[in-house]
């Protein structure tokens, strides 16, 4: 790994904080709509596009964007039907696209550091990448604020929202496009193998401590920021990949939160038992 400079650290922190906003909001949607499997699939599908870019000498990011968006809309359609084959199909797409990407990368004449894609390399973020992250963050925030009430209804009780006349399919298409784009951003931060962790852990922790939707989202964003900043600092100090450090912190926090929650519940149970006794 190349030495991480001070400027790279600055870029990483700016990108990381913006990405925290994205994954905080999208993570809540992923968690509530049970899209963890789908977003894991999307992260891996993107590698097909990266391989294609490397082999045909066009920017791998373009390939990744095309593959991820196509995957998001395709898998989204499958998800609507929700039967036992959905899981299988996501799994098959997941591995086929990954295999396709790896195959093309190995056949290409470029020497690629796989680690950067697998475990993230936020330190190599260029100014143009930061602008892209900024753009997606603005889009996610805009959609979240513009569709706040409809989104909440959709997440809580999709069927009722539809009965009410809310254009659920339109909303879902917008959300899936955002999910695709944000998965790409998270992937740059933590790598495609670890993406799911950053989606799932913060909102899951947040839900243990508040029962208010708005607070769950804000707390997820805040937790993301904390994990990302600590993770990036550790990665900088030890000169290691950003992804493993960030996800390790997020994972550890999840288990600590689960433990605290468990202890609190037990104590409450004991309290009510002694009251009843």
């Amino acid at each position: 790994m190349e030495e991480i400079t001070h400027l790279a650290l600055q870029h990483a922190l700016i990108g990381g904080i913006l990405a925290s906003i994205i994954s905080g909001i999208i993570g809540v949607i992923v968690l509530e709509k049970r899209l963890v499997m789908m977003s894991g699939g999307l992260a891996h599908v993107s590698y097909g596009g990266i391989g294609l870019g490397l082999y045909y000498h066009f920017p791998p990011l373009i390939g990744a964007i095309i593959f991820t968006l196509a995957g998001a809309l395709g898998i989204g359609r499958l998800n609507r039907r929700r039967n036992e084959t959905t899981d299988v199909l996501i799994g098959v797409f997941w591995s086929i696209c990954m295999a396709f990407g790896v195959l093309l990368t190995q056949l290409s004449d470029i020497d690629v550091d796989f680690d950067n894609y697998l475990f993230g390399d936020i330190f190599s973020a260029k100014t143009s990448t930061l602008w892209m992250i900024f753009g997606v963050a603005v889009a996610v925030l805009f959609v979240f604020i513009a569709f706040y009430h409809v989104l909440k209804a959709y997440l809580f009780d999709e069927e009722y929202a539809e009965v009410q006349g809310v254009k659920v399919k339109g909303l879902e298409t917008i959300l899936f496009i955002l999910l695709g784009l944000s998965t790409l951003i998270i992937l740059m931060m933590v790598g495609l193998v670890l993406t799911v962790g950053l989606y799932a852990a913060p909102p899951a922790i947040a839900k243990k401590f508040t029962k208010d939707f708005k607070k769950v989202v804000l707390l997820s964003i805040l937790l993301n920021m904390i994990f990302v900043i600590i993770g990036i600092s550790i990665a900088y100090a030890l000169q290691i990949a950003s992804g493993s450090a960030i996800i390790f912190i997020a994972g550890a926090a999840y288990f600590v939160a689960t433990f605290i929650d468990y202890v609190r519940r037990r104590r409450r149970m004991v309290d009510t038992e002694s009251l009843n006794a």
Binding site: V150, A153, Y160, V166
Partner: protein, 230 residues
């Protein structure tokens, strides 16, 4: 009085499997109709078709004289409790407010003072105003059912459609919900699925027995028992 609902030769299919076959059914304004029939007999599918949640393979449905796809807002819907996630972080007030969402994509929608006031009125009417700020997941089954009822009523509908509202409730809560519905029936037409609760026939004014096809429709609300066994 006019027709609240006209279901005309409706067939519903899922992947070529027929769930509802050629059902015609009319509901007069002010009726309280219980839909009965075996599990998997197409009761829920028929309701989903009326609510435009599943497409019709053939036939047509009219709600107060309008095509059912354009009749959003005329119907208050109360689903089975199992369809939504009780752990979702949402308060009772916000669940009920959902009933005031517009029939659109809801771009930059904000609830008005009037929406809030209507929610307060309905909560008072159903005596659940003390629950307003509680998360939905902390409520008992009977309380949850009242919240769903409030969400349907806040739309100011002309007809209520309920999918087994009393499943999984204890007998006193069931009775309470039925009494409430009976009271509401003075103003509203009610269509309600009931799987195996005979008490509903003390409240409903007529019954439709459905097993893929419409087997019986009439006021002899108790006679369907025999039909179920033949």
């Amino acid at each position: 009085m006019g027709k609240a609902l006209t279901v005309d030769q409706v067939t519903v299919k899922y992947n070529h499997i027929v769930a509802v076959h050629n059902v015609s059914l009319a509901v007069e304004e002010g009726e309280f109709v219980a839909i009965a029939g075996p599990n998997g007999g197409g009761k829920s599918s028929l309701i989903k078709a009326i609510l435009d949640l599943v497409p019709l393979a053939s036939g047509s449905i009219q709600i107060f004289g309008q095509d059912h796809r354009k009749a959003k807002g005329l119907i208050g819907y109360i689903p089975q409790q199992s369809v939504f996630d009780s752990k979702f972080p949402i308060t009772v007030r916000d669940v009920i407010l959902m009933g005031r969402l517009p029939a659109s994509l809801g771009f930059f929608h904000r609830f008005t003072r009037k929406d809030e006031r209507r929610v307060d009125e309905i909560m008072e009417e159903l005596k659940i105003e003390s629950l307003a700020d509680r998360p939905i997941g902390e409520l008992s089954g009977g309380q949850k059912q009242k919240v769903l009822l409030a969400r349907a009523l806040v739309t100011d509908p002309k007809m209520l459609i309920l999918d087994e509202p009393t499943a999984s409730l204890d007998p006193p809560s069931k009775k309470q919900i039925y009494e409430l519905l009976k009271e509401l029936n003075k103003k509203l037409t009610i269509l309600m699925i009931s799987h195996d609760d005979e008490r509903i026939f003390d409240y409903a004014t007529s019954v439709a027995y459905i097993n893929k096809k419409l087997i019986y429709r009439g006021n002899e609300v108790r006679s369907f028992d025999k039909m179920a066994t033949t």
